[in-house]
Amino acid sequence: MAVLKVLVIDDEPGIRSGVSRILNNFHVTYPFMDEDYTFEVTEAGTGEEGITILERDMPDILLLDNKLPGIQGVDVLEYIRKRNYDIVVAMITSYASLDVAIRATRDGAIDFIPKPFTPQELKSSIENITKQQYLKRITHKMKQEGKKIRYQFLSVLSHELKAPLNALEGYLRMMQEKQAGDRIEDYATPIERSLQRIQGMRSLIMDLLDFTKIRLERKEEKIQEVNLAEVASEAIVTVQPYAIQMDVSIHLDVRSDAVIMADPDDMEIVFNNLISNSVKYNKVGGKAEITIDSSDNEAILIFSDTGIGITKDDTENLFAEFVRIKNEKTRNISGSGLGLSIVKKVVELYHGTIKVESTPDVGTIFTIRLPKKTIAIT
């Protein structure tokens, strides 16, 4: 039996004792947990008192009221964030005003519990938080032990290749056995879907070819002066038909000419992938903007979009092979899960860096910095 320490900061004694009462008899189980989690609740009536307690006895979970007599809940949140304390914070709030919610989420609150809450509402919030804590601990432990939580490239690949084959085989059998009727029209959906799966498989194979090229080919003889603005324009032309279909407008802003020593094919891979992503994961009527700039020794490429964005948790694995962010918004978007890992490999080949900033539902910005001078490509 593992115990999680919960600190509740609220100026209403009724809320505090309610939380204590509900959680003292509560435990969380989860299929992968070795043991159940139970809770030990400490109470504080003000933010100042809460901070004293958490400095003395670090809690795992903080339930925080925003409206407090002295310093406010968001101030406590900021205090925790500045010190990088590993505490999961859920705000208890009677009227969740939007700006408090936004500020709190930005400062690291992960949940909101509306006041007044039923025991069930509190329990389900705590259950979610506990699972997150558990997964975080496991991940941390694995990292410490040097274990890598990564699937074998080839094995996942075989899964990705098998899924469309299974779908095709199923549809063909359906037709072979005339399961849906005797007329070809009875099979309109299976035929349409089969063609789409073939398309998906083709793009996976194209990505794989890029991927192996980067891994295997020696590049030295192909290195030449490459004007990145030109590569960008060409990539935009390639993606444009798709962008028109999606009603996304693409703008290129060349602030200064960026010429670097590189293999033009590599640069094409970078631009094609990032520009098509910024269209693919955009909204209808959205924008994709590519900015090219340079300093004395670096080319700076910025790809920003007004798309669906990525959550903070998801950005951590974004560049790994076959990672596709799965959620309601990406469900109907197809992709191989290789594009960004390919981009990252190319960028690293040139000793550059890539970073991502994103806000869900607002958009995503990728920034790439590439050294202008040739450095031995490894």
Binding site: P31, F32, Y151, Q152, S155, A167, G170, R197, N327
Partner: protein, 131 residues
């Protein structure tokens, strides 16, 4: 019980596999409820008790199917569950429900590889429902 009185919940985020499974089950005479995600499956389970459930393993998360098995068994211990997946040995995520240890945490009654023939699926369903 007649096949036409039986409702099978099918959850799979691959629309084609979902389409085919539902098609085959309905062809065999069952009623079906099709959902495309773990979240949708959870909301169905909360309101409705199916006679049997077929879950894909990897949906929103890599362990969606395991979690659904666990949740449905907690709510309706008597509903048989089939875990269907294309994940197999080569993924390094190999598992089965043969050993006692695996049975203790994988709450599924059958584990089936995707690509199973329609007749075979019907057989498995009949066996689990003792038809």
């Amino acid at each position: 019980m007649k096949k036409s009185d039986i409702t099978i919940l099918v959850a799979d985020d691959d629309p084609d596999y979902l389409f085919q499974t539902v098609f085959n089950l309905e062809k065999a005479g069952y009623k079906t409820m099709a959902v495309e995600s773990q979240a949708e499956a959870e909301s169905v389970i909360a309101r409705f008790k199916p006679n049997l459930a077929i879950f894909d393993l990897m949906m929103e998360s890599d362990d969606s199917g395991f979690i659904l098995c666990y949740k449905i068994k907690r709510k309706y211990p008597d509903v048989p569950v089939i875990l269907a997946t294309a994940v197999s040995h080569e993924t390094g995520l190999s598992f089965s429900i043969d050993s006692e240890q695996e049975k203790s945490w994988i709450r599924a009654d059958r584990y089936l590889e995707k690509g199973i023939r329609p007749e075979q699926l019907d057989q498995e369903v009949m066996k689990l429902l003792k038809l």
